[in-house]
């Protein structure tokens, strides 16, 4: 990975962190409602994988921890924040919320709130790609705990059976809500579980964006070259609770300290400083610039945007004016 790309990723990952941490504040201020699941600590996963793919062309789908993936796919952070603020200028006009960010123009096919729900949807998107004949792929990001749902097994089986162009990325943050992986899952190494479907897989350090990028390049190449599905497990850690309503009492301080010492942003920063490509001062200045952008542009846009109009309550229950509802034109 060359230093320009590293610098680009450093800025994007720092932006993602500051975006998420600002969401935390806005939630405490009650500007954001509902459930809020933050991505802090896991930034290298989405950024490393999507950098190796074609964001905006490849299809991406994920769970409720979805803001950062959406932005990395090319969505405007202002529109994402406006959705979190439940405003009409939000990507889903205030009908979706944090767990349901969608940017179909950027081929971000959404965040879904049922654990494991996107597994078959991703296989289906890949089926659609296959039927239409493009060289895009579908990338599905889900957490380790989703692998205990039936949809994991059903979808891997079909993806392999029908040679579908789908990359499953497992962001293994070691906890399913508040239960540690070894207390919920018989086989702790997730990449081993897909061997029963004869799907190639790998496990990589999810805190080092360079490592993620390299592992993802291999994975993306495999899928794009028509060899069928691939499963990439990234070992990572979330710095916040599962959601904002999480007391975080189930994790040991020692463990948190250990992973805190492997912050993907600090690791990338330090490697760039070591290579003489940036400095602590430059990083600080960039951070200040990002904080200002988030405050003056992103938050301001969300704050100043209008609430959705009341007619939106009924607008998208069904599609509008479908002629076949009335029996078609014939």
């Amino acid at each position: 990975m060359d230093s320009d790309l590293k610098k680009k990723l450093l800025r994007e990952m720092l932006f993602a962190r500051r975006f998420e941490e600002r969401c935390y504040e806005a939630y405490v201020e009650r500007k954001i409602g509902g459930f809020l699941h933050l991505y802090s600590g896991e930034e290298a996963c989405a950024h490393g994988v999507l950098e190796a793919a074609r964001p905006g062309q490849d299809y991406v789908i994920t769970s409720y921890r979805d803001h950062v993936h959406a932005i990395k796919c090319g969505m405007d952070p202002k529109v994402v924040m406006a959705e979190l603020f439940a405003k009409e200028t939000g990507c889903c006009k205030g009908l979706g919320g944090s767990m349901h960010i969608f940017g179909v123009e950027q081929r971000f096919m959404g965040g879904y709130a049922l654990v494991g729900g996107p597994f078959p949807l991703a296989a289906g998107i890949a089926k659609g790609i296959q039927m239409k004949g493009g060289d895009e792929i579908c990338i599905c990001f889900l957490g380790d705990a989703a692998n205990n749902q039936g949809t994991f097994h059903e979808s891997l089986n079909m993806a392999k059976l029908w040679n579908l162009p789908v990359l499953y990325v497992c962001e293994n943050n070691l906890y399913g809500i508040g239960t540690r992986i070894d207390r919920s899952t018989a086989v702790v190494d997730q990449y081993k579980r897909v061997s029963s479907y004869n799907i190639p897989s790998a496990q990589a350090d999810g805190q080092d964006v360079e490592v993620v990028y390299e592992a993802a390049q291999k994975a993306v190449d495999h899928v794009r070259s028509g060899k069928g599905p691939y499963f990439l497990e990234l070992m990572t850690y979330r710095y916040r609770g599962h959601s904002m309503s999480d007391s975080n009492a189930y994790r040991e301080k020692k463990e948190e300290r250990m992973w805190g010492g492997r912050d993907p942003i600090i690791m990338l920063r330090d490697s760039l400083i070591e290579a003489g490509e940036t400095s602590a001062e430059k990083f600080k200045a960039m951070d200040a610039e990002i904080l200002e952008e988030i405050e003056n542009e992103v938050i301001r846009f969300a704050e100043e945007s209008p609430e959705p109009s009341m007619d939106l309550l009924h607008k998208y229950v069904m599609t509008e004016n479908d002629p076949y509802v009335k029996g078609g034109s014939k």
Partner: protein, 327 residues
């Protein structure tokens, strides 16, 4: 116009839509090489190949979700779930995704999937193969539910469902696939909202859907022949949304209503139609509306008990006579 069987009408609709649009495909258990449990996809595997006539693993939630995902890209899957009893397993994807994705994406995504599945009480299939589930599906906002009672409807509804941009659940009946009926030779589409008057009458309205339409029709014949009661039969072939206007129109004409359903009474079609009558045309009534429903039990295996668990023509006749004070 030709007289064909219910399954042949479905097969023709599949075939025409697949020939027209390469993104229409069908999938389900045993629908390809084996030709389909009820033959609705007979011959299509040979014609369109394994990529468009897909024999799925027995993974109802998985393949339903896969179909929904493909519909995001413009594919039009026709998903056959072999029995509605198995459709319980696909409810997560149908209800949490198909019914809600258009809404929660602020109109960005559509899920134009068709899910066909037969239910109802057939012949000694026991508790886990005799479910009547339409009441569950029709309670979910964002999902259309239709239920054909004839080959003509089976064809016309499937044609419209494939082209409609909303997800459509088609509730078929295990016992109806070999039923014969007239189907026009030319292509046609039936509306996915509304009802049909299958027999005109002036004294009482019998509301039926799917198989209970036949119980209503036969009961109407008996009532006319033996009791001088002229019953109207309304076929509620669209269960979601229900045809409020059609219900109101008929009740305003006959002033009496009997709703006949093969399912258990609670939270069902009868309850819903009664609520609509109550809300929209209560003062048109000359008598309290009545439900003729199944017993509130799982379906037993023993044939006599099985028949006793669901209504029949005589239950419908008796309900009408009681309403008229003739018993």
């Amino acid at each position: 116009m030709a007289e064909i069987m219910f399954w042949e009408a479905l097969q023709r609709a599949h075939d025409e839509e697949m020939a027209r649009d390469p993104l229409v495909y069908c999938m389900g258990e045993d629908i390809g090489v084996a030709g389909g449990t009820y033959k609705a996809t007979k011959g299509l595997y040979e014609k369109y190949g394994a990529e468009r006539v897909i024999d799925t693993p027995i993974s109802e939630n998985g393949f339903t979700g896969l179909g929904i995902g493909s519909s995001f890209l413009g594919c039009r899957p026709i998903i056959e779930i072999m029995s509605v009893n198995f459709a319980w397993l696909a409810m997560d994807q149908l209800f949490n995704t198909a019914a809600k994705v258009h809404y929660m994406s602020g109109g960005q995504l559509m899920a134009p999937v068709v899910v066909r599945s037969p239910g109802g009480t057939a012949h000694m299939l026991g508790a886990q193969h005799s479910a009547r589930m339409e009441k569950v599906f029709m309670g979910i906002a964002g999902l259309r539910v239709v239920t054909p009672s004839s080959p003509r409807q089976a064809y016309g509804l499937l044609k419209s469902a494939v082209r409609c941009n909303d997800p459509v659940f088609i509730n078929e009946h295990e016992m109806m696939y070999n039923m014969k009926g007239d189907v026009p030779d030319e292509e046609y589409f039936l509306p996915l909202e509304g009802s049909e008057i299958s027999r005109g009458g002036k004294d009482v309205t019998l509301f039926g859907y799917n198989v209970s339409v036949y119980w209503c029709q036969q009961a109407a014949e008996i009532l006319s022949r033996n009791h001088n009661i002229d019953a109207e039969v309304v076929d509620l072939y669209c269960l979601s949304p229900l045809d409020r206007e059609g219900i109101k129109r008929s009740v305003s004409k006959t002033h009496r209503a009997v709703i006949v359903e093969e399912a258990e009474p609670a939270v069902g079609v009868g309850a819903e139609v009664m609520a609509i009558i109550n809300e929209d045309c209560f003062y048109e009534l000359d008598a309290p509306p009545v439900r003729v429903s199944a017993e509130n039990t799982p379906i037993p295996y023993n044939h006599k008990l099985e028949r006793a668990a669901i209504p029949d023509i005589h239950n419908v006749v008796d309900a009408v006579l009681k309403m008229f004070g003739r018993t």
